[in-house]
């Protein structure tokens, strides 16, 4: 059976949730072979075994952490040449898509981004134009490169050997031109990462000010959720830009999405339409976001949200 290369998303030894989802998906199409760029593989190996990685290609040079994107694309290109995989799966994060894009050029293949499902024949399902159109696409030349939207599929354990296979690759000087001098981690407390959170609570224009955002944060914390914001809220400076959900921001696909004080313009819907369950709190009964709601409350968020938060805390304490 041909290998399916899965680029591991990790911070040091910590393997991100999306990697389990990618390995689970890869098992349907071939033999999952994880690709670990940079240090930390020994600590992450068990996690990859848990989700069925048959082997783990490891290239542990410092280049992968020191330079933007290009070294990882070179590593994958070398592995595509060496292992002739049936496909390459990367997470559809900003960086994952960029790696996929560069890889497609190197391997003479094509790249499909933001896939929410992959069917037989490596047919990728994408959600386009703010979720209005469902497109099924394929790559017809070379090993398909598919970027998978985090949280769009399950991470189901299935034991694998996860045999470590050291892979040495000479990273070219051309790939070492955009030098990362410092990584700055934004404060998000104990909250889960936005794109991999099972529950996301987002605030919009209706929140009214940055001073009111703790209301959204408290609700999120009662649910163990990530906090998001609409563009209206980030443009107004009420919440940091990296938490923006929607077109030009993050695309999320959680089990539960709570839209609070968000009208639901197409630009916002583009980032959250594939959430499994959507709850809306908005005082304007005509707001288009209610069209997406599985459950909606028409009311003042300053009354509804504190009551909801308190009720959730009561229930989880009891």
């Amino acid at each position: 059976m041909a290998e399916i290369l899965v680029l591991v998303e990790h911070t040091g030894e910590d393997v991100k949730k999306v990697t389990g989802e990618l390995l689970t998906l890869a098992r349907k199409f071939g033999e999952p072979a994880a690709v670990w760029a940079g240090p930390g593989s020994a600590g992450g190996q068990a996690r990859l075994a848990e989700f069925g990685a048959v082997k783990v290609y490891v290239a542990d040079g410092p280049e992968f952490d020191d330079y933007v994107v290009a070294p990882k694309a070179e590593l994958l290109a070398a592995l595509v040449a060496a292992a002739s995989p049936a496909a390459v799966l990367v997470p559809s994060t900003a960086e994952g898509r960029e790696i996929g894009g560069r890889l497609a050029i190197k391997t003479g293949s094509g790249v499909l981004t933001d896939a929410v499902a992959v069917e037989e024949g490596l047919l990728a399902e994408q959600s386009n134009f703010g979720g209005a159109i469902i497109v099924k696409s394929r790559v017809r030349t070379g090993a398909p490169i598919i970027a998978i939207r985090p949280n769009s599929g399950p991470a189901e354990p299935a034991p694998g050997a996860a045999e470590i296979v050291p892979f040495s690759v000479e990273i070219s000087d051309a790939a070492k031109t955009a030098h990362i001098t410092e990584r700055v981690v934004a404060e998000r407390g104990e909250r889960p990462e936005l794109t991999e959170a099972s529950i996301v609570v987002s605030g919009g224009r209706g929140v009214g000010s940055g001073e009111n955002f703790p209301l959204i944060e408290k609700l999120a914390d009662s649910l163990g959720a990530a906090v998001g914001a609409s563009r209206a809220a980030t443009d107004a400076g009420w919440y940091p830009h990296q938490f923006q959900v929607g077109q030009t921001g993050k695309t999320v696909s959680p089990q539960l999405y709570l839209a609070v004080g968000i009208s639901g313009a197409i630009q916002h819907r583009a980032g959250m339409q594939t959430a499994k369950t959507i709850m809306v709190i908005n005082k304007d009964a005509e707001a288009p976001i209610f069209e997406l709601a599985d459950f909606g409350v028409v009311g003042d968020l300053f009354n509804v949200v504190p009551q909801l938060t308190e009720e959730i805390q009561k229930r989880s304490d009891g």
Binding site: V68, V69, A73, T93, A94, E95, R97, E98, I99, G101, R102, A104, I105, K106, G108, G110, V111, T113, S127, G130, I133, I134, V135, S137, R138, V139, R140, T177, A178, I180, T181, R183, V184, E193, T195, L223, H241, Q242, Q247, T248, Q255, L256, I278, I281, A285, F290, E291, A293, D294, F295, V297, V298, G299, N303, P306, Q307, L308, E310, E311, I312
Partner: protein
């Protein structure tokens, strides 16, 4: 400094967008065409950098004849001149092919810095900056929320999943920007009038030296197999808040096993 800013004409996000039944390419007739919103931030950044460091801003757009509207808008903001790559043979090109065609024109034109928006609002792939850097063998400075240039060295803040990275490189380079970077100016009346007289060079594939076998729908490595409108979501339960809205919401979450 010689700055080239890439501009894409896209269907307006506010209008209904779809694909064409025949070849599954973008239906450009069904929606109003506008300049890709993020490109306005790229133009603004180009103008600011040229104002601060001297130099010229050239707009480069690949697209159908109608894209001249977006090119004129970019010129009316203050760019000096423009290049329009327009050829029926380019229709249906995928991201890899587009990057190859654009890289060809960019190499021919020459530049110190290429600036583009971090994504287009129609395809939303967010890969062109990386692909151009790959095609041109230049530093990739993408998703910049801040840019500083000192001589030939460039420093940016690159937005990441967890915050941002500080990245440095040497010119020439490819830079993509996010909307946090600046506040794009509105074209002045004077700017709009002046834009009408600014030079726009029109290039065909032959002019640019682009191999017809390497672009266009027929040879694209990716293809759309099918597409369909998303079925509307089932109508949900909407309740008015009568003082117990939060409690009702909690009851729903409990029934769905979220709490």
């Amino acid at each position: 400094m010689n700055i080239v800013v890439l501009v894409k004409q896209v269907p307006d996000t506010w209008s209904e967008r779809t694909l064409k039944p025949g070849d599954s390419t973008l239906d450009r007739q069904s929606a109003d065409a506008v300049i890709n919103e993020l490109d306005e931030y790229a133009i603004e950044e180009g103008l600011r950098l040229a104002e601060a460091h001297g130099g010229e801003v050239t707009i480069f757009s690949m697209g159908p004849a109608r894209a001249t509207e977006s090119i004129r808008k970019a010129l009316s903001m203050g760019a000096d001149k423009a290049i329009h790559l327009v050829d029926d043979g380019l229709a249906g090109s995928d991201a890899v092919q587009t990057s190859a065609a654009m890289a060809k024109v960019l190499s021919r034109t020459g530049f110190d810095l290429v600036i583009l928006g971090s994504e287009s609002t129609d395809a939303r792939m967010g890969v062109l900056a990386a692909m151009l850097a790959e095609q041109l063998g230049l530093p990739q400075l993408s998703f910049a929320s801040k840019v500083e240039i000192d001589g030939t060295s460039v420093h940016i803040n690159r937005l990441t999943e967890y915050g941002y990275d500080k990245v440095e490189a040497t010119l020439p380079a490819v830079l993509s920007v996010v909307e946090k970077i600046n506040e794009p100016r509105y074209p002045s009346f004077k700017g709009i009038m002046a834009a009408k007289k600014k030079p726009v060079e029109t290039l065909s594939m032959a002019d640019a030296g682009i191999d017809p076998a390497q672009v266009g729908l027929a040879t694209a490595a990716t293809e759309v197999a099918s597409f369909a409108k998303r079925p509307p979501r089932q109508a949900g339960t909407i309740v008015p808040d009568e003082g117990d809205g939060g409690t009702k919401a909690a009851e729903y979450l409990a029934a769905q096993k979220f709490i």
